[in-house]
Every structure is written in structure tokens, then in C-alpha cells.
């Protein structure tokens, strides 16, 4: 499965929602728990630029395909943030840049040092680290696709479901990029496999952990990945990751659920 970067950049677009009837949310508003999860997802999408920075400090920033992808990806995710903010606004939840800034300021020292650590580590191991970045991205994007589709299924709200499926469709293209890159790079290097396994097993956390509070992470994980149906989705993500060269047997998503005491 090759990924055509030119085709991707040419067709990269901001997610559309202007054609959807958002007044539906006024007549048929979303429940509190769903709004809380949407708020989380909205923040994460806006914070993509923070992930971008973590990735740019690795040698990935020199690869032309990777930088082309990241330019588009970063923008598409920003627009997912805008779309979800528009849904929240219909429920009188206003997300603005100043507030996002406040969230980022709260991250403190841990966040400041992370890219440095990653850069040191990344530069020591050189281009093998790009594989880690790619498989990491794939895991996050698989999680995003699963989360959006699951919320669409659970909520059955006609307008929300349509919007979330559109977002999930774009996320699926991100998966295709990351997974193709990861598979190729892991396939070529035993060292990269060992490193990726080590990094995922020891450092991976659900998308948003480290940015959002533990309470919020727990809420979203429980909401979307809890119960038998949710667990099934988590197992599917793990199965995708385990099919990568050298990563058989990893169950990082299910482990993360267990660690937070999310009921199966």
C-alpha cells in the first residue's frame, strides 16, 4: 500500500460543515458527557502544533515527503478543532485562542523539556527515530479514527454523526501515511523495531494525556473505549499496531485502559 504524497497534498482540504444544519443542535442538543468528550477532542486537534513540534525536533524534519505531509496534516487537524468548536458554540461552549494558550501554559516544565529529551534521543539514534515518530503517529491516528467513529455510532445524532465521519475520513488518510511510513522504515531496520517497541511500551499514552488533566483523559477513555464495545475498538487498534514489523504482542491501548481502571 503505497502512499501518494502528491495526491494527498493536492486533495488536502479543510473539513466542511457549512452545508450541515447546525441549528439541529439547538433543537436536539448533545448530552453533557458527549460535550465533555468533544471539548477534549477539540482541544487536542488545536494542540496538534504541539505534537508537530515534538516531531520536528527529530531528524524527520529533513525528509521532503514527511514535511509535506506534516504541513497539510497540521492544518487539517486545526480545522477539525474549528469544526468541533463550532459544534460546541451551538451549546454555548466557547473555545478561543486565549483559552487554548492558557491550557498550554499550564503544561509547565515537563512539557518544556520533552522535545529536548526527544531531540537528544532522536539525534543519537538518527534516522531510525523517524520510524518511531511514524509508528507513534499511526497509533494516535488509529485512535482518532476509532474515537470519532465510535462517538458517531454511540450518539446517533444525524448532524454530529455526519461531521464526525467526515473528520474520521481525513484521519484515515493520516493513518495511511503514518502506517505506510512506519511499516517501510521498521521493515528495513531491526534497530528501529527495537527502539519503537521500547518507546511505545514505555512512553506511549492515549492522545491528549500530558495535555489534558487525568480526569479528562479518564472520562474520554471511559466514554469511548469503556464497556465491551469500546474494548473491542481498543483491541482493534492494538491489533493494527501489533501487525507492524517487530511489534507483535504489544497491547498499548488496552494497557492504558487497564492502567486507568476503565471497566471492560
Amino acid at each position: 500500500m503505497a502512499f501518494d504524497i502528491d495526491k494527498y497534498t493536492e486533495t488536502s482540504t479543510k473539513v466542511a460543515w457549512q452545508d450541515l444544519d447546525f441549528s439541529e443542535f439547538r433543537d436536539n442538543p448533545l448530552p453533557e458527557g458527549t460535550l465533555r468528550s468533544l471539548r477534549y477532542m477539540c482541544d487536542i486537534e488545536y494542540h496538534t502544533v504541539c505534537y508537530l513540534r515534538d516531531m520536528l525536533v527529530t531528524p524527520s524534519h529533513k525528509d521532503e515527503d514527511v514535511t509535506a505531509f506534516m504541513t497539510m496534516w497540521n492544518r487539517e487537524e486545526f480545522w477539525h478543532g474549528e469544526a468541533l468548536a463550532a459544534v460546541l458554540a451551538e451549546h454555548d461552549v466557547i473555545v478561543d485562542f486565549d483559552e487554548l494558550k492558557a491550557t498550554r501554559l499550564k503544561l509547565g516544565w515537563k512539557d518544556r523539556l520533552d522535545p529536548v529529551k526527544q531531540s537528544l534521543l532522536g539525534n543519537i539514534v538518527g534516522s531510525g527515530f523517524i520510524a518511531v515518530h511514524m509508528v507513534w503517529g499511526a497509533a494516535n491516528e488509529w485512535s482518532a479514527v476509532a474515537a470519532y467513529n465510535r462517538l458517531a455510532d454511540m450518539e446517533k445524532h444525524p448532524v454530529l454523526a455526519e461531521l464526525l465521519r467526515r473528520i474520521a475520513k481525513q484521519e484515515a488518510r493520516h493513518v495511511a501515511f503514518y502506517a505506510t511510513q512506519a511499516r517501510e522504515r521498521l521493515g528495513k531496520s531491526k534497530k528501529a523495531q527495537v527502539l519503537a517497541r521500547f518507546a511505545l511500551k514505555n512512553f506511549w499514552g492515549p492522545v491528549g494525556s500530558g495535555v489534558m488533566t487525568d480526569d479528562e483523559v479518564k472520562h474520554v477513555m471511559g466514554h469511548l473505549m469503556g464497556g465491551p464495545e469500546g474494548r473491542k475498538e481498543a483491541a482493534k487498534i492494538d491489533a493494527h499496531i501489533a501487525r507492524m514489523p517487530g511489534l507483535a504482542g504489544l497491547t498499548i491501548v488496552q494497557d492504558a485502559l487497564d492502567a486507568r481502571g476503565i471497566a471492560a
Binding site: 502544533v49 513540534r53 524534519h61 504541513t71 485562542f97
Partner: protein, 298 residues
Amino acid sequence: MSGENTMTVDETDPIRPPATRFDVRDFARTAVGSHRDEIDLEAFAANPLNPETVRSLAYLRELERSTMTYLRNVLVTPTHKDARVTAFLTTWAFEKYWIADALEQIVLAHDFDPASVVDLSRFRAFALEFAERTTPIVESFRANAIGPDVVGVHLATVAVDEWVVEAAYLQLIEADPNPELVSLLERVLEVKKRHRSFVEPETDRRLADSARARKLARRALRRTAWPVGASSLAKSETAVFYESLFDAGLAERIDVRVRRIPGLDDLHLIRTARRQALARGNRTRSSQGTDTKGGTNG
């Protein structure tokens, strides 16, 4: 779109607070993507550009597409916390990607290898590799110790860089008024005008408000290799860039604008960059035994 005012270097004071605040969301909403549909590549087959123009376009393509390297150094600093600035930079990088793509299409249509401008000697490649590996680390420690004042420095860098690159496009239009090229560059200048309308007032405000930011900006801008991205490009190409597109007068006109930025009132950034680039270009050519007398009058 192609108003007369885009055809001259704007010499009115560029750093003025606008009447209304730049609407980052509107900017994102109306971002300009691919220019491919509007470029008639066949027109270049019938009416090709001068070889020097193509070479300059290849160089400019590299400058436009160096956004990820810029973001790499910027995002490890407190600048990444400012959601309004990062929202701007997200769309800015997107628009610049497509400007670079348009230039690439034209360069390729003239059978010119765009990668030739990044040819580096082995020694330089090594030095650059070392710098690239360490810069974000140094930046991160330094800028995090400095705090939010660094945002103004980053925006000032973009502002000055925009002026240099814009001046280059205007020079190209004058030197090689091929209608197809002119029409593309006019569109590009419109895109870049919006970038300026964000970074100029932001730079002004942030530097005017903080003595520390002004001090930092003075130091950082003097240490920057102009245009931004030049440090990873072949020195011979940077020499050609200045030699063919910037005379001493134009360099001075840009410096006048730089000096209007609060706290930068005695800098000669572009004059210095131009002199150094031309001197290096001449040295390279004399070592190769070719004519060294270029249009140097700086």
C-alpha cells in the same frame, strides 16, 4: 487581486498598528492553496524564462519551503504556547508550501534541477548537520529561560524575511516580465501581503511593549543569515541571489524598514548579508579562475 500597489516596494511605514486586529480565523478560512490550475506551463515552452530567473526561482522555492525548519526552532520555545500565533503559522506554512510548489513546477518545466541550489560541500553538510542537531536544544533552553519575549523576536524574523523575499519577487517581475510569471508572482505577493499584515503589527506591538524583547531581537536578527533558510543553501546560490536581485539601494531600502521596527534603529541587516554573500561569491569564483567582476557596489 493584482492592484498597482503590489508592484512597488511599499515604502510607507509598514509597522503601524492596524485599525482592526488581524482575524486569524478568517485568514485560515480563506487560505490560498495550490496555484497549479492557474499556471499555464505550456506558455513557458513557447516563451521560456531567462536562465537566471529560473535559478532565482529555484532558490526562492527553497526559501518558501523551509517553514518546517523554521517551525522546528520556533515551536520548542514559548512561542508554541501562543495559540493565536500558532494558528497563524499553521496557515502560513500551508500557503508557503503551495507557493514553493508553484515555483517548483515552473523550475521543472525549464528542465532545471531544483535540488541543485542545496548542493553542499561535505564539510558544510557536516557543520550544518551538527548545527541542526543542536539548535533546537540550545534554542529550547535559551528561549524557555527568556520567556514570552521571544515571540516578538520570531515574528520580527518573519517580517524581515517577508520584505526580502517580496523585494526579490518584485525584482524578478521587473527583470523578466514574462506574463505567465508576472501573473503568478502577483498572486503570490497578495498571499504574502496577508502574512505581513499579521506579523508587522504583532512585531511592532510586542517589541514596543518590552525592552527585553527589543534587546533580544537586535541580537537575534543580527545573527540571522538572511534570507532565512540561506544557511542550508549553497553559498554560491546566495551570492547569485543578491547579485542578480539586490543592488545596494534596494538592500538599503529594506534596511530602512528594519530600522523602523522598535529597537532596531541602527541595524544594516540586508546590506551586511549582501556584502558577505557577494564577497563569498567572488572568492568562490576567483578560486575557480573565472571572472570575478560582478555588479558589486556595496
